[in-house]
Symmetry: C2
């Protein structure tokens, strides 16, 4: 699964730290998520969706092998 969190974060001019605080996770979680190092929960995906004003499907996308 891939995502465009880094782009969305740039659009909304947020640091990883700020984004982390807004959705209630650690900075490392944001960092690892952007690097697609693991699969976040659906609650996190929905929170990002809400904050960015974008559907989950436009932030996250399935890849081969998922």
């Amino acid at each position: 699964m891939k995502n465009n969190i880094k782009v969305q974060r740039a659009i909304h001019d947020l640091t990883q730290q700020e984004l982390a605080e807004r959705i209630g996770v650690s900075r490392q979680t944001i960092n690892a998520m952007e690097a697609a190092k693991y699969v976040p929960s659906t609650v996190l995906a929905l929170k990002l969706s809400e904050l960015f004003g974008k559907p989950v499907n436009e932030i996250f996308e399935l890849e081969e092998g998922d």
Copy 2:
């Protein structure tokens, strides 16, 4: 977080077992997910989205306390 998986499953006329096989999880995972007993991964949400032809945001929704 709440969801309408049970309804979607009815629309597509699938048993929990069949749905589980389609998206590659156990039947208990589907059952527990319908009962909102835990938060599934974003990959699962996207697979349901793909199978049901519905955006993740129309299958899952945040609630107070999430």
